[in-house]
Subunit: 435 residues, 2 copies
């Protein structure tokens, strides 16, 4: 049923109906305060980590000076707990005067001067999740204009203390209001996360028309369990979620916690790789002032980033789930290429997984294979059996290039792979001869 509904919806809307602000044709990248800094407002005792303009300027400096910006990490996003507890005498939101003495516009200019963009946060309830003034229906136009006046570049609209009816009105209304300001402002909607993330409560066609990205599911925490929980949900529901994604409209499984406290290096590579397969926004939430070189090298991996940022914008899928705990994910990419990801859920020792490209539904031919995390390159015939050794909780990620004879039609009709909406964008990835 869902499949039929979505196929129909998709056929009607085609591929062009993303939010018409021209933004985020590839998943947005940058830095977001929440997971790492939460609602720490104790600037007296914890001046380096509290939510203040200093924190965002520090991160902006690191993004601009340490080469992150050139890799694509350009957004610096404020989350909850930035504002004063009172609106100003004209009813406008205002930042906490002690923690943001320069104001938001000055902060935005600080970022713009460095080639970066500023994101800000609001909530549809009377209060934000953290208890700061919300942006209920009657404040939407005012607050959208305030953000535009401040030269903000992105807005995350959370949903604490709002109900389904308000959300149904408010999320489209904010989209309109942001567009009406004339300033291009990327729009992140928490709406689906508050409605369970699935149809019929969630209408992904509509979301694609009004939001650039949306949080489908609960908040990430600094633990491998949390990453796995998110990954499970997104791939168990891939038949619903993958058709929703595309240039300008992205599912958001939440922040990258690489560089924080809870993930091993293997697990950090796994998050980076899985987020690349999912065409997920890449918002780091970490301390760029002290991040380890190991975590940096994962977040800076150019091939993983280029897979994430592929121009086709097709969200990848899980195509194999073995009893051994090995899973295989696949994402079609532009230039007849694709990404293949081997992931181990085991907790014992490296597992030697044997398969072949033809078993993974690649058509006959000889392929070039680049290992994303080791930079090794090889050639591989579709019929050649190969062994990949996958570490516990780790991944092996491949970029697979020409001849890329993907027989997508067969692929979508195959045994374990049915249920995927056939998307004509993908035809660009396939040599005409196969269509």
């Amino acid at each position: 049923m869902h499949f039929a509904v979505f196929f129909f919806a998709f056929a009607l809307t085609g591929t062009t109906l993303a939010l018409d602000n021209g933004l985020m044709r590839t998943p947005p990248m940058g830095w977001l305060a929440w997971e790492r800094y939460r609602c720490d407002i104790d600037c007296e005792n914890d001046p380096k980590n509290c939510i203040s303009e200093n924190l965002f300027m520090d991160m902006a400096d690191r993004l601009a000076e340490d080469g992150w910006k050139e890799l694509g990490y350009v957004y610096v996003n404020i989350d909850d707990c930035w504002s004063s507890k009172q609106r100003d005498d004209q009813g406008r939101l205002q930042p906490d005067p002690k923690r943001f003495p320069g104001g938001i516009q000055k902060l935005a200019r600080y970022l713009h001067d460095r080639g970066l963009k500023l994101g800000i946060y609001g909530d549809m309830g009377k209060l934000t999740c953290g208890g700061y003034p919300g942006t209920p229906l009657d404040k939407i136009e005012l607050d959208a204009q305030t953000f535009a006046d401040w030269e903000v570049d992105m807005f995350k609209y959370d949903g604490c203390y709002s109900n389904a009816t308000e959300q149904e009105q408010g999320y489209p209304l904010m989209s309109k209001a942001l567009n009406a300001t004339g300033r291009p402002i990327g729009y992140s909607c928490s709406w689906p996360a508050y409605q369970g993330g699935l149809p019929p409560k969630v209408n992904y066609t509509q979301l694609g028309e009004i939001c650039n990205l949306w949080r489908n599911y609960g908040d990430i925490q600094d633990s491998w369990d949390s990453v796995l929980n998110i990954v499970d949900w997104f791939f168990e529901n891939q038949d619903v979620l993958t058709p929703a994604a595309g240039p300008g409209r992205w599912n958001d499984p939440d922040m990258l916690i690489i560089g924080d406290f809870g993930l091993s290096m293997e697990q950090s590579r796994s998050q980076m790789a899985l987020w690349a397969i999912m065409a997920a926004p890449l918002f780091m939430s970490n301390d760029l002032r002290t991040i380890s070189s190991g975590a940096q090298s994962i977040l800076r991996n150019k091939m993983a980033i280029s897979i994430n940022q592929d121009a086709l914008g097709i969200q990848g899928r899980r195509i194999v789930k073995e009893k051994s705990g090995i899973e295989v994910f696949w994402r079609p990419l532009s230039k007849n290429a694709s990404a293949l990801l081997f992931f181990s859920r085991r907790t014992d020792m490296p597992y030697r997984y044997t398969t072949s490209l033809s078993k993974l539904n690649y058509t006959a031919g000889s392929y070039k294979v680049f290992n994303v995390f080791t930079d090794e390159a090889t050639s591989l015939k579709d019929s050649t059996e190969f062994v990949v050794s996958v570490n516990p909780t780790g991944v092996v990620m491949w970029y697979v290039s020409a001849p890329a004879k993907f027989n997508l039609r067969q692929f979508y009709q195959g045994g374990t792979l049915h249920g995927r909406v056939y998307d004509d964008r993908e035809e660009n990835a396939i040599p005409r001869v196969f269509l």
Copy 2:
């Protein structure tokens, strides 16, 4: 009830009734194959990692040449899957001839030549857990003698495929048999792990008399969840377990998985610190040929090792469990010192925990405090409120020295701290004036 039973038992046995082989007066340290290498016998396809004499010689080389030995890591322990599937024509166990062509005695001498010791593995059932020949009751004397003939230094006796009655006979019998060989062989008993780890099924007084160490609980896996699960069980049952431990007789929460795939650096420090508090055997199960410098520095931390190896051999306890997810552990040490461990179960951000030494039951005075993982030293009055910032899933570990005016009697009678058996060994840690 348990408390009374144990107090009585302890009073009867006193502190001297450890297995009378003079071994392991401090927790044994070394390397053990199982967690990292399991039953990998595929030497054809995985020659560097399969269970073979080469693996153990490789690890011996690393222990001897890379400075591990000088830190105390001297055991190199074989686990399951080392033997031939058949006993020899005289009924003796024999190693797999392809994987151990030189035989066990030659391997033992290779280790002894490098100042190291060799451990080996057997099982009380007809078969080991991995399906190799076991050492049932009627083979105990023969196999003990075989191990002694091979100049083995430690023996782990597993319990797969044996029942409670056999275990009740077999574990003491093996103890006798090992002693009867005249060769000092450290004896690790898996008995309590097969009987749920708790009285009345498990008699820790008897275990202390026949074994040098024993596995109380299930196998560790390469994940933080597994470490937490073990830590939970050991500290929830600390009233039963701590009196059982002492010089020559140790609770064994299983191997260190630091340097493998599943733990972050924070979590690795936490395992090292918690194992030190528990006076646990320190058997690494990792690849010493490729281990990262970060993991090495944790495993080589001299102050953590010296806390683990403290001559009093008193197992530490959890003394505080906050709703915030902060827990505090304490272990009395020789020279009037103690170890304090602050641990965070949070998965958000560093938590600033406020307390004082007097709140942690230290008596009046000024203490010297050494931070185990940062090498910082400070002085601290018992009454001074201090803040420790504890990272998610991480620890702050202190070595606290003189004046060490621990009022242990008050400590054990205190609100949250009752239920600990008062141990007269501990009086050595306390200035006489306080007793």
